[in-house]
């Protein structure tokens, strides 16, 4: 049973890393988004630094959601999803493995790169670590809520933008508490821990709900 779990995890990481896997696309998309925003708002660093966390969080959220529809769709198309269904491993654990692999290739790198992009929006020094913390804790929720949507899209064979559209409203709590935690670290009345702990709770909840929802969506596929 454990072998199957790690086999799925290892395979997804390998495919994302290989040429053609598109593993690094989320990172480039995140960089592109953060670079585009100042062109709209103007180069004034004082303005940018006030809304820095918001720009970075929105960029991370969109970068995670955009790549989600391929999560199960590619397995459905080449038939390896049937293989996973025929495994003794419960579908929930298979979804957990795929969600974890997705987070390791998108959410984690985004969080690690965000300090660099913080420079582009003049994020103050003391705001960098809290921002990375909120992203590290928040992006798993995005991956697993999105996994639910991706499973639905794969079973209905409707990829493309349906997943971000379906999933975006569900990620509103993550966005609210993520940005407010990141902002709280930079100033303002709210202490950092309050929104941050709520974000952790939401993330844990989302991982469970997303996994169960995705497994149900895959199981009921006709």
């Amino acid at each position: 049973m454990r072998r199957a779990f790690f086999a799925i995890l290892k395979r997804d990481l390998a495919v994302a890393g290989r040429a053609g896997g598109g593993g690094e696309l989320a990172l480039v998309f995140f960089l592109t988004l953060v670079v585009l925003v100042p062109f709209a708002l103007g180069p004034d660093l004082n303005l940018l630094s006030r809304i820095g966390p918001a720009i970075l969080w929105l960029g991370a959220l969109l970068s995670v959601l955009i790549g989600l529809d391929r999560l199960f769709q590619s397995d459905e198309e080449d038939g390896s999803l049937d293989l996973i269904r025929a495994s003794a491993l419960p579908l929930e654990l298979a979804v957990l493995a795929k969600g974890l692999a997705h987070w390791l290739t998108t959410g984690l790198p985004l969080a690690l790169v965000s300090p660099l992009l913080g420079l582009l929006v003049a994020l103050p020094g003391e705001g960098v670590l809290p921002l990375v913390a909120t992203l590290l804790v928040g992006t798993p929720a995005l991956s697993f809520i999105g996994a639910g949507g991706a499973a639905l899209a794969a079973s209905l064979r409707r990829g493309g933008l349906i997943v971000p559209v379906l999933v975006a409203p569900l990620t509103v709590p993550v966005l609210i508490f993520g940005v407010s935690a990141a902002n709280a670290a930079v100033g303002g009345t709210v202490p950092f821990l309050t929104p941050f702990l709520i974000l952790c709770a939401i993330s844990l909840g989302a991982i469970v709900v997303g996994t169960v929802a995705a497994a149900a969506a895959l199981r009921s596929a006709d």
Partner: protein, 253 residues
């Protein structure tokens, strides 16, 4: 089928590059060594920026090479689309990572130069911003090469993207300048006047040429690797089919 393997043109390039590479690398190393020595020991500190002016010796050649390599890629793209030169897309694919690295060096050295001078690592200065957008275009092209694994199909698509990018670079530069002056932030200090003192100019030129030759040598090695990668790919598929037929006829492979 036999002609597929020993393509005339790449073989001639392989022999030509094998002969030229040692010389190119040697001259490049020499020029860089001399340039660095002059830059560090003979060039005087700037009356205004003090020692930080020495960052210019890295920053300016890097910016120049980032632009030059992109123009080379645009030329290769024309080679692929218009003249159907078999090595054009090889040259284009090999140039992308090198150009991207120089764009990255330009940005980082610009930021490290900006901190002592403007007080922040990054400021949305028109030239730095344009190089940042250029880096994004580079990353897009490299990502496209990685996503499409079949070289022949990828060549045309990437060539078109490169040319579209090339046409846009001046437009981006113009719009960024306009965008920058429109929101003129107070704190930007004009970086480096037009007239550079000769004792600064010589190290800069030598280093620029040295880095250019070094980059061209790297580019040649990258092209050789790409040519061999494609031949390996073709031979592997042919070998698999050959062994397949032998296995089918019951002959032990």
């Amino acid at each position: 089928m036999a002609s597929l393997i020993d393509l005339a043109n790449p073989t001639r390039f392989m022999r030509f590059s094998a002969a030229l590479l040692p010389w190119l690398a040697a001259i490049a190393a020499l020029l860089i060594a001399v340039g660095l020595y002059l830059a560090w020991f003979s060039a005087p500190a700037d009356y205004q920026q003090g020692e930080t002016i020495r960052i210019m010796f890295i920053h300016v050649p890097a910016a120049w090479l980032a632009m030059m390599f992109y123009s080379m890629m645009a030329l290769s793209a024309l080679g692929t689309l218009v003249w159907r030169h078999p090595l054009a897309d090889v040259a284009q694919k090999a140039a992308a990572p090198i150009g991207a690295c120089f764009a990255l060096i330009c940005l980082v050295s610009g930021a490290l130069w900006g901190k002592p001078m403007w007080g922040t690592y990054w400021v949305w200065d028109a030239r730095l911003t344009s190089v940042l957008v250029l880096l994004l275009i580079y990353l897009g092209i490299i990502a496209l090469w990685r996503v499409l694994d079949d070289p022949s199909r990828a060549a045309r698509a990437v060539a078109i993207l490169t040319l579209v990018g090339f046409v846009n670079v001046p437009i981006i530069k113009f719009s960024v300048d306009w965008w920058n002056t429109l929101h003129q932030p107070a704190s930007v200090l004009r970086m480096g006047g037009p007239t550079i003192h000769p004792s600064m100019l010589w190290p800069l030129l030598i280093l620029a040429i040295g880095f250019t030759l070094f980059a061209l040598a790297l580019h040649m090695v990258a092209m050789r690797a790409e040519i061999m990668r494609r031949r390996v790919r073709t031979l592997t598929i042919l070998e698999a089919e050959r062994l397949d037929r032998l296995a089918a006829q019951g002959v032990p492979a």
